[in-house]
């Protein structure tokens, strides 16, 4: 028996290894087949979804209502707001102000430069000179009139006496000479007085011109009151049509952040400066005496409250050569061309294209830009 085992041992040994190998291979193969199957590459990306936006026709779009895009878009009415934001912002300078105190307000002016102060002083002096010269002329006229009248009366009486036969011929001749003298002197005196008045007036005009060159309007200076501040705003030539007397304005200065001073445009300069600017003279109120002559200011002109149509900045689209917004029109969206103006924070002024109240896509309109372009192109 041992011999048989010995004979069969190699076969048994080999069969044992064969069986082991077979089992092992079976285990490995079953474990391989039990793993996850590789995916169909066709499942790599999903098929495209149904169109969420449709172009209905020229300038019209429609959104499928049950889409996240439709839910994302916010519609809000184009607002009509009263804004008093300046139409134009320019730079300026505080030229003069009246400080509180006793006495005539006209004597409490302070100016931004010695030249202006001198010009004002000269102007005031010239005013006084004109008045004096005027009065002088009137007096001279009266005096000369009286003198001529007296000489003429004397001459008449002497003539009567001579005609009456008195021997006053010499006195008559003398009286006639006196009359001529008086008339001549009257002319001379009147001429001098008139001349003095003219000179005074010219001096006054020159002083006014100097004031105006310095940016001040003499008329404005006449109406001085406590707290009056005069600013000169430099309006660039291109904006001259945008400014007129009587416009409301507001001023801010670099040295007083957060403070603003309201006023009105009093007058416009007669000529442009050498720097191609038109001086606009403004009168603002500053009872707290915070403004000082010489301060540089930022002046907003045209701050009268006015109605403007505004839309959120995110509602505006630039497509091609035009700006537009999307206006809800029933179930569709209509492309409306607009003319945008200035920014007002997160809003933009609409100068044309909307009248106010139209429901516009206020947010994420940019996501519809490709379709807007297509709608406009049709």
């Amino acid at each position: 028996m041992l011999g048989r085992w010995r004979e069969r041992w190699p076969d048994l040994w080999a069969n044992a290894w064969m069986t082991l190998g077979t089992l092992g291979a079976a285990v490995v193969i079953v474990s391989l087949l039990g793993g996850p199957a590789p995916a169909d590459p066709a499942a790599r990306q999903a098929a495209p979804a149904e169109e969420a936006v449709i172009v209905l026709g020229p300038g019209r779009l429609a959104l499928r209502p049950d889409t996240p895009l439709a839910a994302r878009l916010t519609v809000a009415p184009a607002a009509v707001e009263e804004v008093s934001r300046p139409r134009l912002t320019v730079t300026g300078t505080v030229l003069a102000r009246v400080y509180a105190g006793d006495g005539d307000a006209a004597e409490r002016w302070a100016f931004s430069s010695p030249d202006l102060a001198d010009a004002y002083t000269d102007w005031v002096q010239a005013q006084v000179d004109v008045e004096f010269a005027d009065e002088q002329l009137a007096r001279v006229r009266r005096l000369t009139e009286v003198q001529v009248t007296r000489s003429a009366e004397l001459k008449r009486r002497l003539r009567q006496l001579v005609e009456a036969g008195s021997e006053a011929a010499m006195e008559l001749i003398s009286a006639e000479a006196d009359l001529l003298q008086a008339e001549l002197q009257a002319q001379r005196d009147q001429f001098e007085a008139e001349n003095a008045l003219k000179v005074a007036r010219r001096a006054r005009a020159a002083a006014e011109r100097r004031l105006r060159l310095g940016g001040l309007e003499p008329l404005a200076l006449r109406e001085a009151a406590d707290g009056t501040v005069v600013l000169a705003a430099n309006v660039p030539e291109a904006h001259v049509p945008d400014v007129h007397a009587g416009q409301a304005c507001v001023a801010r200065v670099y040295g007083l952040p957060g403070a603003s001073f309201e006023g009105v445009v009093e007058s416009l300069g007669a000529a442009l400066t050498t720097e191609r600017m038109l001086r606009a003279l403004l009168r603002v109120d500053d009872p707290g005496e915070r403004l000082r002559p010489g301060m540089f200011a930022e002046v907003g002109l045209g701050t009268e409250p006015r109605p403007v149509v505004t839309v959120p900045a995110a509602a505006l689209l630039r497509v091609g050569d035009a700006d537009c917004v999307l206006v809800r029109d029933g179930d569709a969206l209509r492309v409306a061309d607009v003319v945008p103006g200035r920014r007002l924070g997160d809003l933009v002024e609409v100068l044309a294209g909307l009248t106010g109240g139209e429901p516009v896509v206020a947010r994420d309109a940019i996501l519809l830009k490709p379709f807007v372009a297509e709608a406009r192109a049709r």
């Binding site: 193969i29 499942a43 291109a238 050498t274 630039r318 379709f371």
Partner: protein, 1049 residues
């Protein structure tokens, strides 16, 4: 019965030598193995080889200029200058606002530093306008992005501080790491010293913008004044006039007005500000952050560089950064490498296990199984030595592509023969064992030598592959060739000596019971087939033809299989003109949606572009990286494809007007560099008129959308977007005495933020910029109010001397080969690329009329497919021709060669059926598989003809010789085929990261071998009988075959 050794090969003297010096041979074997282990420790490990083309980029910043201007003044001159650079395959360029990127793609194999030197030489000759600063891009490729991190603070550091730390602490440290080419920053706020002008103050003081700029420039200087000697000492004199801080800038004297000095702070607000960001980075639920992207230098060992980078990061996190600031990586190539290596190791391990088990099953002897199995480690280590010498990294497509079943085939045949001889021996005298082993070795060395040579020869044409497929599969082919050479050496020179030592006690006579019982059945079947050969042969040919005709047309065609990189990369293009902040806000919603998916671990979003200029993208563009959780943790999806499909559907539903492209980071960037687009298919229209090209592009897109399978069809280049153009009116400028230079200076400096000076804080440098308050620039009108100064110093509003208008201008201008181009891209889903392209081209030809001057090209992955198709159309016939030549050399008979070539179509039909059944497409991977398969399939036939020839040389008639010879080789053929098949079964069924490339290749080989083996066993004898090739003339003194009597019919 034994096959006669009819002739010897060149290896036979070596076999004899090896048997005579066993100790030397075994010592050398150990030395080679040791060398292999050493090389293994030094070799780079990477998931995929670097498949990016040799590219040199010229990046030129030209701040504030519209794309049209940049193109005209920068891009075109550079392209012209580069036109004569040698070895350039194509020049492409991309121009956006303020940036030009010209990319030169060199011929494959061009040395990288040589290429850069040529470009630098030509670049030095280009005349560019002032302000345009060109430089070469980093010496890195798209493949080199191997590490991304986020700089995170838990101590309240803001974006500016984080960006400063990233620029001056983290990046500088990482750039000192050997092997790192570049580290890009993305996101954050770049610190600047900002001088914000107050127009009222400027005008009030009569100070112009230029006065302020000149004041800052001239008041920021240091000086060196020589040396002051004093006695025996000397003192270096230096002037310290550099600006140090905000206060110093504010105190700069500008001019005197009415005797009083006007300082900068009198006319401007000086403070710390930030650059206008070009990109915003966000991650998970953090809206804004700071990212760093590390690029490895081309040609460096990525695993070594990655390890160094991690060391540097540890050093930074260990104390070089302020308290609370950490570098937190979120993308690391290590993960891809590890995961891929796991897949490879898993497949290889299982494959090797199956091979060893099969050997055990059929040999019934652990010693025999071990003898054969030792071929595997030796061939692997031998291959590693050669891979190390030619710089091939360990990876999916080198070690991972080896079929160890094929490796051991030669050893199987050799050891089978040895076992057969030893089992027939009477007694186990040592010398007799040695003699029998030698005899067996000499008998089998020629068929083994030529069989292995045929398999090696089948891989050689793959070495001619070029471009992406070449970079992917040449390393694989080389590795396999090295491993096969190693296996051949081991089989011929080591197996016999080892066998003579290990099997001294002899080998019991044993055969697998199935084989033993199957042998008579096989013989009977063969006899029947031989008798009916004139029916069988045509029938087989007909069956083959029908199978090919039914199966092959249904198999799709694509360039590459999907190569999983782990993460998902998404490109999203919002409508042109979308601001950076808006794009980033949409990114927030995208992050929310993606993070809702339970199988997603992280998401990062890059809106806009990085700061280095290497990615010329507009603000409306976004790149998203989605990191899935480890596969084992997935709860909703089973595969990455499903994950991508779900995420894609969700994002497209949320943003239907946004173009999304789902891809992967490496392949996306690499194919974009190589082909100019990463799309599956792109239609390129080139010509001079961009508007015309865009219109044609739209028509092409409409045509493509109607082709079934088209997804995400869109024009790649972003469309026109509005530009605010400030154009000086020369007449008015003359009237107001304003120079155009002053207008452009205002735009550059006060609007664009051109730096006017620099402040150094230690090693760090920051720009000083002068500009108007951005809050005053809310509209065209407000912009028009900005003052530009006349020669007399008078301030003139900009609108008074300029036309300010909104016009449409180009967002991006793409060029190739000196022509502008528009690219219509699309991806293909649910069908093969070849079929799709054919239909798309037909529709295009029908629906789009091209005017003169416009050229069309078809690009993308499709271009690679065409090239690969053309290549394989040559490679496969050459392979077959090579095999045929070797067969004729082996057998000295063209008829024998032709008979054996029949294995090729038999193998092909098996592989084709496999692809059809498994729903796979024909691609480069399967092409490589087929090339390999043909060589392997021939091996069985060679063995069969060998054994039949041996029987005939004994004097048997043809039919009996055929039947007996076929029976003789039944066991080695079954064993060799089974190990070759099972060795790749794990790879053909693998699903882990990296398996997508192996799977098609393995599938083709596995199934092809199944059909080849079956048909070889049944039909090669029949065709041999029909062909009746002549016998080879005897050479030398081959020992007469013996035994085999129990198998005689």
């Amino acid at each position: 019965m034994t096959p006669s050794s009819a002739g010897r090969s060149v290896a036979s003297p070596l076999v004899e030598w090896a048997m005579g010096r066993r100790a030397v041979v075994l010592t050398l074997t150990l030395l080679v193995a040791g060398a292999g282990l050493w090389c293994f420790s030094k070799m780079e490990v990477d998931a995929y080889p670097d498949i990016s083309a040799q590219v040199v980029q010229v990046i030129t910043t030209f701040p504030g200029r519209a794309p049209e201007e940049v193109e005209r003044q920068v891009t075109i001159p550079i392209e012209l200058a580069m036109a004569n650079v040698p070895q350039v395959e194509v020049i492409r360029s991309r121009t956006i606002f303020g940036l030009s990127v010209v990319q030169l793609q060199f011929d494959e194999g061009t040395e990288k530093y040589w290429a850069r030197l040529r470009v630098q030489e030509n670049l030095s000759l280009v005349e560019l306008p002032d302000g345009a600063t060109p430089e070469l891009g980093p010496l890195a490729t798209a493949y080199g992005e191997l590490y991304r991190y986020e700089l995170v603070s838990t101590a309240g550091h803001d974006l500016m501080e984080l960006r400063t730390l990233n620029d001056w602490a983290v990046i500088t440290r990482l750039l000192r790491t050997p092997g790192v080419a570049e580290v890009s920053n993305f996101g954050g706020l770049g610190k600047q010293f900002s001088v914000t002008l107050q127009p009222a103050q400027l005008l009030g003081y009569g100070v112009s913008l230029q006065d302020v700029v000149d004041a800052i420039r001239t008041n920021n200087a240091t000086a060196g004044g020589g040396v002051l000697p004093r006695g025996g000492m000397s003192f270096v004199i230096r002037g310290a006039g550099a600006l140090l801080d905000v206060e110093a800038i504010g105190a700069i004297f500008v001019r005197t007005v009415d005797g009083a000095p006007v300082l900068v702070r009198d006319v401007a607000t000086v403070e710390l500000g930030h650059q206008i960001p070009s990109g915003i980075f966000s991650k998970d639920r953090t809206d804004e952050g700071v990212e760093g992207i590390v690029l490895v230098r081309r040609g460096e060992n990525t695993s070594v560089v990655l390890a160094r980078v991690k060391e540097a990061i540890d050093e930074l996190n260990g104390g070089l950064l302020p308290e609370g600031v950490q570098v937190v990586p979120f993308y690391d190539r290590t993960h891809l490498v590890q995961s891929t290596m796991e897949t490879v190791s898993h497949s290889v391990l299982l494959g090797v296990t199956l091979v060893v088990l099969v050997l055990l099953i059929f040999m019934g002897s652990p010693a025999m199984a071990l003898l054969v199995a030792l071929t595997i480690p030796f061939s692997l280590l031998f291959a590693m030595v050669l891979m190390y010498l030619v710089d091939i990294p360990i990876g999916l497509l080198s070690i991972g592509a080896i079929d160890f079943g094929i490796i051991v085939d030669g050893a199987v045949i050799m050891s089978d023969r040895i076992a057969h001889r030893l089992s027939a021996m009477r007694g186990h005298e040592r010398k007799a064992v040695w003699r029998e082993v030698l005899t067996a070795a000499l008998e089998m060395e020629r068929p083994v030598f030529f069989s292995m040579l045929m398999i090696i020869g089948a891989y050689l044409p793959l070495l001619t592959l070029t471009s992406i497929e070449g970079l992917l599969f040449r390393p694989m082919a080389l590795t396999l060739v090295f491993a096969l050479v190693g296996a051949l050496i081991f089989t011929l020179l080591v197996v016999p000596p080892l066998a003579s030592l290990l099997l001294r006690g002899g080998v019991p006579e044993w055969e697998h019971p199935l084989l033993r019982r199957g042998r008579p059945l096989y013989a009977a079947t063969l006899r029947h087939l031989l008798r009916t050969r004139w029916v069988v042969a045509p029938g087989a040919v007909l069956l083959l033809s029908v199978a090919l005709w039914r199966v092959v047309p249904g198999i799709g065609l694509e360039f590459l299989p999907y190569m999983d990189e782990g993460v998902v990369w998404v490109r999203a293009n919002f409508p042109e003109g979308t601001s950076l902040q808006q794009t980033s806000a949409y990114g927030g919603r995208i992050r929310e949606l993606v993070l809702e998916h339970p199988d997603v671990e992280f998401i990062t979003i890059q809106s806009g572009r990085n700061d280095s200029g290497t990615d010329p993208f507009p603000p409306s563009r976004m790149e998203v990286m989605i990191g899935p959780r480890p596969r084992a943790e997935w709860t909703r999806v089973r595969t990455k494809h499903e994950l991508v499909a779900e995420l894609g559907a969700r994002l497209r539903e949320e943003f239907p007007t946004t173009r999304f492209n789902f891809t992967q980071p490496i392949i996306d960037s690499v194919t974009e560099d190589t082909n100019g687009t990463s799309a599956n298919l792109a239609v390129e229209l080139s010509g001079p008129d961009l508007d015309l090209l865009r219109r044609l592009g739209q028509e092409a897109a409409d045509a493509l959308r109607r082709v079934p399978g088209a997804v995400d069809v869109a024009i790649e280049q972003e469309g026109p977007q509005p530009q605010l153009v400030i154009a000086p009116d020369r007449e008015r400028c003359a009237r107001y005495d304003v120079r155009v230079e002053d207008v452009t200076g205002l735009i550059d400096t006060a609007l664009g933020g051109d730096p006017v000076g620099v402040i150094y804080e230690g090693e760090r440098r920051f720009d000083v910029v002068v500009r108007f308050d951005r809050r005053q620039l809310g509209s065209k009108d407000e912009l028009g109010e900005l003052p530009v100064f006349s020669q007399q110093g008078a301030p003139i509003p900009l609108r008074q001397v300029c036309r300010i208008e909104l016009v449409d201008g180009q967002t991006t201008i793409a060029r190739e080969g000196g022509r502008r181009r528009i690219t219509v891209r699309c991806d293909i889903v649910g069908r093969d690329q070849g079929g799709f392209v054919a239909e798309a081209q037909r529709r295009f030809a029908e629906e789009v009329a091209l005017p003169p001057g416009v050229r069309v090209s078809w690009l993308g992955m499709f271009e690679n497919l065409e090239r690969a198709k053309g290549h394989f159309a040559v490679v496969l016939p050459v392979t077959i021709g090579l095999i045929f030549a070797l067969l004729v050399l082996t057998f000295g008979s063209p008829r024998a060669g032709l008979v054996l070539l029949l294995s090729v179509p038999f193998a092909f039909v098996g592989g084709a059926v496999a692809l059809d059944v498994r729903g796979m497409n024909l691609n480069v991977s399967t092409g490589v598989g087929f090339a390999a398969l043909f060589g392997i399939a021939i091996m069985n036939g060679v063995l069969m003809v060998r054994y039949i020839t041996a029987r005939r040389l004994e004097g048997l008639d043809l039919d009996p010789a055929i039947v007996l010879g076929a029976q003789d080789c039944l066991r080695p053929i079954v064993m060799a085929s089974l190990v070759a098949i099972l060795g790749l079964v794990p790879a053909s069924l693998a699903t882990g990261l990296g398996s997508d490339v192996q799977r098609p290749l393995a599938t083709v080989i596995v199934w092809g071998l199944v059909s080849a083996t079956a048909l070889t066993l049944l039909l090669v004898p029949v065709f041999y009988r029909i062909a009746s090739p002549g016998l080879p003339p005897p050479e030398g003194e081959a020992p007469a075959p013996d035994g085999g009597g129990e198998h005689a019919s």
